[in-house]
């Protein structure tokens, strides 16, 4: 057979002409490839899809693309009603006027905006956030007490980085904020779940968890709590419980990390006194512009006691050198020139309307599910019927063009199959209604399948229903019992 270019292959006269591993490529004048023959059967060559797979740190073990993650690629399509994301609705921002002011800021201070900044953050912005914190009762704070971070995600990373060794314990409210779980897991921190009910974290359960973890010889480093309009549970820690939680934390010398991105998003303008306002020495306070103004800016702030603050600044420097000046100056330009309180108030009304729309649609289409209607924030935590598995049902939902987040994402241990998180922040009330209608069709079909195969009874796991309306009002002793049963770490 000929090896010349442009000749027809005389197939079958020699073996091994199907591309040998040891062959080199040959390219014709127009870039057309052809295999170079090798007369011997080539030796198998290994293609390591990832040659470093045995080099990774153990903390990377859990960092994997999953089927669920891939399904969310479809959720970004406009024809899908996404009840999955936690994106604030930004169309009402005054972008026209803001863009002019940002242009002016760039003309006047462009060399600062594009320059390195301080690891602690822009002093102007640190001054500005003081007035925001005042709204939730944090008054005795100075700009020097504030550290700016790249979103609260980065803040959580920093506080975990400086506080926790692998194997240390963080106590958190189950279900947990999924982003926090990612941080804790990456530092190989154990998460001990404490019980919550419709009034938020149960103090007795918190104390019980500290004791049982210590009894097991583990170091409890801090409590991670989202006290207001919790993600995903939607509940708010009652004002009565707040001092009790702080008292327990002081008693056992456990730091409290208070994550408060939603505090100003109470539907009727109600705010709650921050834990930080009640105890400045034992609380690290995190808040963010992401849910109220601009998640794309990636700007949040931390207020911490002096010693921790110093470490946070050094950790920030080690991690990112400094938060971006451009983002910080964009935020201050907005805060200094607009009535941001009125803007937030406008958003509150909008989110209230959307929450009501979701609540009404759920009552109409999914009366057999249960949920707490939140008083603020972005989410409804929906309890689905026994036998259904929110994670396994997701492909069916995607086919029906509705997306949600399966409850399993909010636990590290596979719990959460009986819950899903529904977001009402981004879609309009009409789209929310349509989304819930589709979800009902999905759930009906899944129920039929599950009932068909008769596995409903064997799949019942009544362990993840504690924030539901119908079971939430537990007495303290019951909560204690539940705690001792469920106080596992993962």
């Amino acid at each position: 057979m000929s090896t010349g270019e442009g000749t027809t292959v005389n197939g079958g006269s020699k073996s091994g002409r199907t591309g040998g591993a040891t062959s080199e490529k040959a390219v014709g004048p127009h870039g057309t490839a052809k295999p170079v023959r090798s007369t011997d059967q080539p030796k198998p060559r290994i293609i390591k899809n990832d040659p470093w797979y045995d080099s990774y740190a153990s903390r990377a073990d859990a960092m994997k693309s999953s089927e669920i993650r891939a399904l969310f690629s479809v959720a970004s399509r406009p024809d899908v009603v996404s009840l999955a994301g936690g994106m604030p609705y930004l169309e009402r921002m005054p972008f026209d006027r803001l863009s002019e002011l940002i242009a002016k800021m760039m003309r006047d201070e462009g060399d600062k905006a594009w320059q390195y900044g301080s690891a602690q953050g822009d002093p102007h912005l640190r001054e500005d956030v003081l007035q925001i914190m005042e709204l939730e009762g944090i008054k005795d704070v100075q700009a020097d007490d504030v550290v700016i971070s790249n979103g609260s995600q980065n803040a959580l990373d920093l506080i975990t980085r400086i506080m926790c060794d692998p194997g240390d314990v963080v106590i958190a409210e189950a279900p947990n904020y999924v982003g926090a779980l990612g941080v804790f897991r990456s530092f190989q921190v154990q998460v001990a779940n404490a019980e919550t009910d419709e009034d938020g974290l149960i103090p007795e359960s918190f104390e019980e968890t500290i004791k049982s973890q210590r009894a097991a010889g583990r170091k409890v480093k801090f409590l991670y709590t989202v006290p207001n309009f919790h993600n995903p549970a939607g509940v708010t820690m009652s004002v009565e419980r707040r001092p009790r939680i702080l008292e327990i934390a002081r008693k056992y010398h456990v730091l409290v990390v208070e994550d408060n991105p939603y505090g100003l998003l109470g539907f009727d303008g109600q705010t709650y006194p921050a834990l930080k306002s009640m105890d400045s020495q034992n609380v690290v306070y995190l808040s963010s512009f992401s849910k109220i103004i601009a998640p794309g800016m990636r700007i949040a702030w931390i207020v911490a006691p002096a010693g921790i603050r110093q470490k946070l600044i050094l950790a920030n420097e080690a991690s990112i050198l400094c938060p971006p000046n451009m983002s910080q100056m964009t935020i201050t330009t907005y805060l200094d020139n607009f009535d941001w309180k009125a803007q937030i108030s406008d958003y509150r009304g909008m989110y209230k309307e959307r929450c009501n729309a979701m609540d009404a649609a759920l009552k109409e289409y999914l009366p057999y599910c249960s949920w707490n209607k939140p008083k603020g924030g972005f989410y409804i935590w929906l309890r689905i019927p026994d036998g259904l598995n929110s994670k396994e049902m997701l492909p069916r939902a995607i086919t029906a063009k509705v997306a949600y987040v399966a409850g399993t994402g909010f636990y590290l241990n596979g719990e959460g199959t009986h819950h899903m998180r529904l977001s009402f922040c981004y879609p309009t009330p009409e789209r929310i209604h349509e989304g819930i209608r589709r979800l009902a069709g999905v759930m009906d079909a899944e129920r039929e399948t599950v009932e068909l195969f008769g596995t409903a009874s064997s799949r019942i796991d009544d362990s993840d229903d504690r924030t539901d309306k119908n079971v939430a009002k537990r007495t303290a002793p019951a909560a204690k019992n539940a705690t001792s049963k469920r106080n596992h770490t993962v």
Partner: protein, 360 residues
């Protein structure tokens, strides 16, 4: 050898002359390639990717990866999703492409429907025709075709819609499956890829759960006997009427099975090219892939998956008309390992289809 040049669309073209040496097809540039007058910089290649199937994510990666190679090779490449804007885009003289490469995985992409649309639009496109795609897309139909018409081996399976379990009683059907097929079994949606909704069951007790998972992806389940052996794939390019059969690629998964996570996380598997099999077995696998490609009426590009059993017999699992084309997918890896430059190879395929269109 295969030299029967394609003359018209929609007709079965390349036929394989029986030879004593298996796996004999190859691609080399033809004379026409050298005299090609195709100007890549003005030839618009539209890659359609994304879509609304469960494999959207992989499709986007495949589309942009192939597009990147074509751009580097000098083509004028554009991308479009499947949405309401596609048909206006195709018909607008300012944007109408010269050729379309549908890189949609899952339904729409592989069930023939996008191909039907492109045929109605009278646009040349890369890949199998709609009808052949439809046959290959249904795993049980494809298995039957290659078994009956090409004499290939394929693991025994039954195909049951959810309604059958409903009408006859799930418990009884599960019992019947257990008695008849035995365990272990592979449960998979009859249509779909990337192992989504697939699971292996080792006892009848596990079957209901696996079926529920499967039916979340589609209405019909295929229950296939598990064959122990080596998992391989054979990719085929069909360029200028000649079939290039790449060396079989072996998938070696570090964990237990080649599930979705193992497919999309590069650290989860290694490939071997060619597969670590004896030469006659490799040749038999290439031969079987060629038969599947031809019998199913596929064209331009395909990847056929087999399990090579303990006796060295390739057992047909499925043929893919839109195989994964990401940087860690099997087809590009097999081509690279066989010495091909992907930009050159993909360009040759585009040119081949363009030339064929001109010859119409």
């Amino acid at each position: 050898m295969m030299t029967n040049a394609r003359k018209t669309y929609g007709k079965h073209r390349a036929t394989r002359q029986e030879t004593t040496t298996p796996a004999s097809a190859s691609h080399k540039p033809t004379h026409a390639a050298h005299k090609s007058s195709i100007d890549r910089s003005t030839t618009k290649v539209l890659i359609v990717c994304g879509g609304f199937s469960h494999e959207r994510d992989v499709s986007l990666q495949s589309g942009h990866r192939v597009g990147g190679f074509l751009e580097e090779a000098g083509w004028n490449v554009a991308f479009h999703d499947i949405d309401g804007g596609l048909l206006p885009y195709l018909s607008d003289p300012d944007t109408r492409p010269d050729i379309v490469w549908p890189l949609l995985h899952g339904a729409i992409g592989e069930d023939g429907s996008i191909r039907d649309v492109l045929e109605m639009e009278r646009l040349p496109y890369i890949g199998s025709r709609a009808k052949a795609s439809r046959t290959a897309w249904s795993k049980p139909i494809a298995k039957n075709v290659v078994r009956k018409l090409a004499g290939l081996n394929t693991p025994y399976s039954v195909t049951l819609p959810e309604s059958m379990f409903r009408e006859l009683g799930a418990e009884r059907v599960v019992q019947l499956v257990d008695d008849s097929l035995g365990m272990p079994l592979f449960v998979k949606p009859t249509m779909g890829g990337s192992a989504m909704g697939c699971s292996q069951v080792n006892s009848a007790k596990e079957l209901p759960h696996a079926l529920i998972d499967c039916f979340a992806y589609g209405d019909v389940a295929m229950l296939e006997r598990v064959v122990e052996g080596t998992e391989i794939s054979v990719s085929i390019f069909d360029i200028d009427g000649e079939l290039l059969v790449l060396p079989p690629l072996e998938v070696a998964v570090h964990s237990d099975n080649y599930d979705y996570e193992a497919r999309v996380n590069p650290e989860a598997s290694d490939f071997y090219v060619p597969a670590r099999l004896d030469a006659p077995v490799l040749a038999a696998a290439q031969d079987a892939a060629l038969k599947a490609h031809q019998t199913l009426g596929l064209r331009d590009i395909s990847r056929t998956d087999f399990i090579v059993d303990e006796d060295g017999v390739p057992q047909f699992l499925e043929s893919n008309v839109a195989p994964g084309m990401t940087d860690t997918s099997q087809l590009p890896q097999a081509a690279t390992a066989a010495g091909y430059d992907l930009g050159d190879l993909y360009s040759a395929l585009v040119e081949s289809v363009l030339r064929e269109k001109r010859a119409d």
